[in-house]
Symmetry: C2
């Protein structure tokens, strides 16, 4: 759990401050705030480095246990958010703190022809984190109740049962040892406009620009509705949603770092014990 003191800047631990509740109203969200955190950007950025190092230390323990134990333990970070919310930056600046060997990263775009021939969870199951790994989903199975719902890509009778199905899927995952950290990232319509405009100004950002992103802006209320339904129906005790305001990138990155640290600390992992006789091995090594 995030330490509660002035040094850390957190007045309320991130896990509580951004946890979705029955009162969460997507349409009313202020995305330019820093829930639970009283510090400024400078403190936030310094803390991100410090806590990134803590995250890295915890990840190594997870990895060590993955190598040494038969038990499956893994952490899955699910990132959902509108374009420009900062999913890519989140991976770079948060997951970038940990050993690349310990990360199973997957991003989910428009399904390929092969993926379309399968159940929507097919590509998700294939990408789940291995034992000892931190998995990262840049978009996820939630696309199948977001873009799919907004654009009527399948009829309601088809997407409607998915909420329950996803809950069951995640319940099974958690029971088999995967801690799920779900993060819904929100920017305002204005902030999105500013970020898209920057991509049109800078030749090193053109590749990130997609004309379809502007088209999607026309569906903002429908997306808000779909996000609301997602939070209402799939924020569970075993896999709650976290609603992270993302206009201030430094805050969103720090908050997600705290969420991951919390998930790892809850695993309460120690270093794996030696599965060999230490003195015997010291002797063998000395003689070698």
């Amino acid at each position: 759990m995030a330490k509660k003191n002035s040094r850390t800047g957190w007045e309320i631990p991130a896990t509580e401050a951004v946890r979705a509740s029955a009162d969460t109203r997507v349409a009313d969200l202020d995305t330019n705030v820093t829930p639970g955190f009283e510090g400024d950007k400078e403190l936030g950025e310094r803390l991100l480095e410090e806590r990134g190092a803590d995250l890295s230390a915890l990840q190594e323990k997870l990895f060590a246990n993955g190598r040494s134990s038969e038990e499956h333990r893994s952490v899955l970070l699910v990132l959902q958010g509108m374009d420009t919310a900062g999913k890519g930056g989140m991976v770079r600046h948060v997951i970038g703190h940990v050993d690349p060997q310990g990360v199973d990263h997957a991003s989910f775009g428009v399904p390929t022809e092969e993926e379309k021939r399968h159940h929507y969870l097919w590509r998700i199951r294939k990408a789940l984190p291995r034992k000892g790994q931190i998995g990262v989903f840049d978009r996820s199975h939630y696309e199948d109740v977001l873009v799919v719902r907004v654009h009527d890509l399948v009829p309601p009778a088809e997407w409607e049962p998915r909420y329950d199905e996803i809950n069951q899927f995640e319940k099974d995952l958690v029971e088999s040892g995967t801690s799920i950290v779900k993060v819904a990232m929100f920017v305002s319509l204005d902030e999105q406009k500013a970020r898209l405009a920057e991509r049109l100004e800078r030749p090193d950002k053109y590749w990130k620009y997609n004309p379809g992103d502007v088209t999607e802006r026309g569906y903002w209320p429908q997306y808000q509705q779909a996000y609301q339904a997602m939070l209402d129906r799939t924020s569970t005790e075993y896999a709650p949603w976290h609603v992270v305001p993302c206009d201030r990138k430094w805050y969103s990155r720090l908050a997600v770092t705290e969420l991951l640290i919390d998930a790892l600390e809850r695993l309460d992992l120690g270093w794996p014990p030696a599965d060999f006789d230490i003195e015997t091995e010291k002797r063998r090594l000395a003689e070698s």
Copy 2:
């Protein structure tokens, strides 16, 4: 290419200083040296951070092109070395500088039952980097001419043709757009003993210790012979080996950073041009 001036500490660019040649003698290697580099550890560690940032910038360009171009461009780092040579640390401290989204990491241990039923390159092909990615192989297809040869896991008539087959495999890879950076990492027998001893002293390192590692020390001359044959027969113009002394971890990490930077610079990538009309999009965005 590494900049040649006093600030960088490189008197000879890393790419030249560690490139395997017909004169390379594995049995005579001094592993406690810093070929081409005149600076000390302090400078080396500072440079690693600076050049790590350069590597990260180049990786982003590779990634951008992977997203925007039909052409396949990728870089594959192949790490081979005896236990404790520092392959894991190399991934953490060198590849750790780049965006995790842009890394396809794979490690190759003892083949699984399924892998054993296939050609030895089967598992390798499956793990090749995707377009725009930096692939990292922690061990590789070279295991099939190293441990396999040392322990007679298959008869000579079977491993002998593999050198040529690997060369052809890598030639095809390079021709289809993958730059291969092959790094053979060497520590001395004494340094290995010290590193294994540390694993037996520290409970946070037990998980890295494997009694088999001591057994393998008994085959040191045979491994040297197998590494020699590997260098002699598979260091090609299109995929040369680099022989990196690894007793000083800071040096080996800096050298490999330079090798990767060199490989990326040779691709001579620009930012992908806009594949949309910029003014039209600015108008659309403003109106959205």
